[in-house]
Amino acid sequence: MTTTTLADLDRARDIALDLSGWGRRFSFYQPRNCAFWGYLVLVGIGIFVFISTLAREYNAYGQAIGLAVTSFAIYAALFWWFTQHIDHYAKLPAKLMVVAFLWGGFAATGTMAANANDAILALYAKAFGQVWALNWGAGLAAPFTEEPAKGSGLLLLIALAPRQVRTAFDGFILGAFIGLGFQIVEDITYAMTSAGTQFGANQIGASIGTIILRMVSGVAAHILYSAIFCAGLVYLLGRPAEPRKVGRGSLLVATPMLLHGIWDSLAAIAGPSPLTLVGMLIAVIVIALVIAVRVYKLTVKRERDFVRDIMTPEEARNVITAAELDAMAGNRKARKAYRKASRKRRERKRARYVLNAAYGLADEVAAARGADTDRVRFARAEVARIRAGVPSPW
């Protein structure tokens, strides 16, 4: 029987930290990196296009633009919170998520997909007639323009942050932020278009329906499509912590394109019956959410393994217990089971705080690249203090 020493566990932790990229800082300014300049040019063009459109239309549709920008800003903030909530594991730097968001919002929309969509829709109308283009044009244009436009951002992000973007789960999270940026800017544009449908009168009434519909359907649209697409892209390319899996990658890249195509063709598939349309709308949203949950579960496993490898030395040093390690590296059910293990309410509350402090310790260990720094020692002390029920001196 072989004996595992603390040194072995520390070595395993170092390997996990290297592979996962967890805790590494991200610097956007990299003048010797081509992707940095490419990103600046393409996002810059998109920002110019968007600001020009807003400036041109603000005088006419100021009320609708104000409502749309405010509503979607709140929507984006809620989504950011949700992403933080589901990502307990090897977290990506917030700066990288902002870079992803801006790509989706400006480069993927104004610089790339919008031009391509207009051209392809017009070409479809010329080739197959106006009615065909109205029925199937969007469904056979957007999946082939918008998904690659959003997904190509991940190629630049990998070139900009090769030490941080290491797993399919990283692709999933960054893809979701690219999709969020795309969704928000597209929704603001749709709100402006709706404001003009009544000749500029009754702007709020004309655009509120669009804003609400886009908010409700948005989660199962661009955010979800890009998350799945970008996870697939990581499998297709392969990363140091994610071996290349071409079959799985191709399937995950194709799935959101198919979902997007169906979503954009729903009115044509459902026909004139509003009931059929609503039924199909709900069905597609449910199917898309189920697929997204499955992809999340598929990709998050590697991240959980990293958490276990990184925190096992803490368990070996008696900083956390085996049950806490299992909860940290487990899924939502495992964390819930750990918290509910005690019958007393106060104990359950304390278990939650201990778990949060342990995640904080994991972040500090990752930031210190496994070293025994003052911040790590303090984070360990915090776990012990909360477990002992001692009030914070700070």
């Binding site: 020493t5 010797r32 990196n33 610089t111 030490r163 009544q198 000749f199 070996a316 070293a371």
Partner: protein, 223 residues
């Protein structure tokens, strides 16, 4: 499982050195640039050029073949129709009886003949034709801020072949002239905009007014 009391090894007290992100290994530099970042950047640029330059150029080169035949009627959302001039090309909108699968006709239709363009747009509106024309002028001025076409002259009355009274006004811009007409059918506004080169003769003008006068909403008043 190691015994923490007997196993005395501890983690290093300082993080291992890692070069900053701007550092490029000497064997990966090409004129100072990280050569590993060139291929993905070029791939993304190639995609961006195809989407934003190549596809629009192909579209501009492909002519439209949807030419209006005598007797064609265009239909828009809310049962609004108009008779386009034979020989003009349909660049958006559909003919009556040829609705998309959803059953909903689009809110806009456009027909073109060279540089001449005639667009009809419908939407809910509460008020009369003069009020709609005022609203269109306000929105148009706010959007264009005097840079493109702007309203010149006073509104005049126009009556369709079906006897529906509307309001019309002339617009001019740099090298462009045209007309805007507004009608309101039972809470549904209709805006017709025709533009073309300012040196257009009287014949195209007559064609445009023929199309404006053909605007109709069958069954109006029974709703």
């Amino acid at each position: 499982m190691p015994d923490p009391d007997t196993d005395t090894s501890s983690a290093a007290s300082a993080p291992r050195f890692e070069p900053d992100e701007g550092w490029v290994p000497a064997d990966e530099r090409l004129y100072g640039v990280d050569r590993r970042t060139i291929a993905p950047t070029l791939a993304v640029f190639a995609l961006a050029i195809v989407m934003s330059v190549v596809l629009p150029i192909i579209n501009a080169k492909v002519p439209y073949h949807d030419i209006v035949k005598a007797g064609d009627v265009m239909e828009l959302e809310g049962d609004v129709t108009f008779v386009p001039e034979a020989g003009w090309g349909v660049t958006s909108g559909v003919r009556a009886g040829d609705a998309p699968s959803s059953g909903e006709y689009p809110a806009t239709a456009t027909v073109e003949d060279g540089a001449l363009k005639f667009t009809l747009h419908t939407g809910p509106f509460h008020g009369d034709a003069n009020k709609l024309l005022d609203q269109i002028e306000t929105t148009s001025e706010a959007l264009n801020r005097g840079r493109r076409v702007h309203v010149t002259g006073a509104p005049t009355t126009i009556v369709t072949d079906q006897g529906k009274q509307g309001a019309t006004v002339r617009v001019t811009g740099p090298h462009t002239g045209g007309v805007i007409a507004a009608f309101v059918f039972d809470g549904r506004g209709v805006e017709a905009v025709a533009t073309g080169p300012s040196d257009t003769g009287p014949e195209p003008t007559a064609t445009v007014f023929r199309m404006i006068r053909s605007i109709n909403r069958p069954g109006e008043g029974k709703r």
